[in-house]
Symmetry: C2
Subunit: 392 residues, 2 copies
């Protein structure tokens, strides 16, 4: 059942989760990140402009078709070309809908009440210029401030992914801060967000349509946050696999006990094998297998038993500012070394290297054993982290 075409009136509020789950069952948990970084366009021999971004995206889409559950587009990679970039994104989204691939637009909108209907018009309503199956959201105004936009998404059979836990240190300081007021008083910021998201998924048969974004390299922060992904029944979008150092063991650690609802985004690690379509397709298939295997093992791991899981809504806490404590498992302690400070979703380290002091901790891509990079051509092999990004 493909509801992404636009004008059907018989949409159910649970449509997105059900459609995504069907695709994940069929193609596995891989979401191909289609992010036309300047460097990759240059590497492919494409122009660094809206047309180059569109050609790149169409080719990545071809590689993802039939090999991945979904595709995700980072909006700023198109926005940098202004209206021309958005016109390119519109055409790419149209092509994806024709192929029946689930589309996620990573626009990270904030969901101010005053802009709810505008964002719904842009992405969710029949005939929307940027019609997508789901978009990403930032909850700085509180998760509940997003409820209007979430309702618009669900009413149109679509979904959202709300940023909750990232792996950079300063993000963790904010996300693990303890609330002093409100429904989740005494709980972390991330806990309140995950719990609010989960409320939208309760009572749904199968996977919900309101998702979370949780970085795969988060390591021990997952315990500090009080959030247990195994208790969440919506989809979980996890960026950071491959290119910036998240590995199979990170997926196993962070997502242990989850039940087939984790969608892993891989972008640069696939794109580095283009523009040859056969190489791109082979890389996509190979990485899809790796990710599927890692998450299969995570599914088989039992989750930590904890009474404060996000499904069982806590009674309003009366204690103030008491950090939630968990017994750290040996595994998560091991996973945290090295990867914990990695920036979120940095699949192009050279893109941000001159500006942030965090990027120094981004490791070079680790090639998975089941994919042989020697089969790639020289100019499409993964670029070394030290390579210089061309400036416009």
């Amino acid at each position: 059942m493909d509801m992404s075409g636009g004008n059907q009136m018989d949409v159910q509020r649970s449509d997105f989760g059900l459609r995504l789950k069907t695709c994940m069952d069929k193609y596995g948990p891989l979401c191909v990140g289609i992010d036309p970084h300047r460097k990759i366009l240059t590497d492919w021999g494409y122009n660094v402009d809206a047309e180059g971004a569109e050609l790149f995206s169409m080719r990545m889409l071809q590689a993802a078709h039939g090999r991945a559950a979904a595709v995700k587009f980072q909006t700023p990679m198109f926005e940098r070309y202004g209206s021309k970039g958005f016109a390119a994104l519109e055409r790419v989204l149209y092509a994806a809908r024709q192929m029946g691939i689930i589309t996620i637009v990573d626009c990270l909108h904030g969901g101010l009440s005053t802009t709810i209907s505008a964002i719904a018009d842009a992405y969710f309503k029949p005939g929307a210029p940027l019609l997508a199956d789901a978009i990403t959201l930032l909850p700085y105004y509180g998760a509940r401030s997003l409820s209007g936009l979430i309702d618009e998404a669900l009413d149109n059979g679509r979904g959202v992914f709300i940023a909750s836990l990232t792996s950079n240190e300063e993000g963790a300081s904010l996300q693990t801060a303890i609330r002093q007021s409100g429904d989740y008083k005494g709980r972390t910021v991330a806990y309140g967000i995950a719990s609010t998201a989960q409320k939208h998924n309760e009572g749904i048969e199968g996977m919900g349509s309101v998702g979370l974004i949780i970085g795969a390299t988060i390591g021990q922060w997952i315990s500090d946050s009080g959030v247990d992904p195994a208790q969440f029944t919506g989809p979980i979008l996890s960026p950071g696999y491959g290119w910036q150092g998240a590995e199979a063991k990170d997926l196993k650690t962070v997502f242990k006990g989850t039940k087939g609802n984790v969608l892993v985004t891989v972008s640069r690690f696939i794109a580095a094998h283009g523009p040859d379509i056969a190489m791109l397709s082979q890389a996509t298939e190979s990485i899809a297998l790796d990710v599927r295997q890692a998450l299969l093992e995570a599914t088989e791991e039992p989750s930590d038993e904890t009474p404060s899981g996000i499904v069982s809504m806590p009674k309003k806490a009366t204690e103030t500012a008491t950090p939630l404590t968990f017994a750290a498992t040996g595994e998560s302690a091991a996973a945290s070394s090295g990867a914990a400070d990695a920036v979120p979703d940095v699949d192009d380290p050279t893109e941000s290297a001159p500006q942030t002091d965090e990027s120094a901790s981004v490791p070079a891509p680790a090639v998975r054993s089941s994919f042989d990079p020697s089969k790639t051509t020289g100019d499409s092999a993964p670029a070394a982290a030290s390579s210089k990004e061309p400036r416009q």
Copy 2:
């Protein structure tokens, strides 16, 4: 000195703050919010499409020219029309640059490291399609995660406004949560963000270029946050005046002791007097005077003396999770009644009324004494909150 034209190479990192201050000294603290809501386009007799949004924006720009320090555009109001909407915004920004008006694009970007250079290409670099003097940012990944993007802004003589304190209850729960780790351990989320922003402004002669967004209706939350606006030397953008119930006394309470660095955004309250250009201009002038007077009184109020002001960087706190306490003044307690739960920046209550339970607390516009609504024509008078929004 107007550096907004584009190609000058002699930009200083302090340019934006200095240019904005010059304009505020000349025209006062009013920032005209140019937000083409569907309802206002209909009220004006314009088409609800990208062309209507552009015509509306050009007219609002005319009214703001020479009467306000800056103009601000909510991106989703253009994004709803896809690439056509962005093309309209590009032309409006071009017109604003020709007029020499300071432009703020309210895109509320999240500043992921991987998208820094893309956002800089879109808004800051010479020749950027959406070249603006400043943009707005959301700090969910931590204020420090925005530093790369802030550097890009400053390097191009431009600025940013980082969301810090909003007035909705769920936002306050997140923003006043106490950090358990990092440089601002023991401090609130908002405190860490304000302090990080302030670091960029230190050592600047005059007003800095890294601003904060603080809702005017925040009331008593300002004390809970530990943030003292009087200690902040960058610009402060304050939405919510007029239409959704923030009044002169709120400005006086929240911004007491500030020194001419508060920029107050008014949108719907002005637009309701269009499309007649004389009426729009008169409304703009009248509201500019009101806002100027209110902030003048705030400037004369002494700020609370507190050792934890955001200028004096605290030593790394050793205590954990101790809420900062302040002696609440009688004024702020009074201001909090009624307005504290108002949603941020809702200048079109009908826009979100069906979706959120928060909008019920948005009061009808209070007409300021110095402007007489009886002089407006019937069809351009402020719409009643109960009026029905047309659906596309």
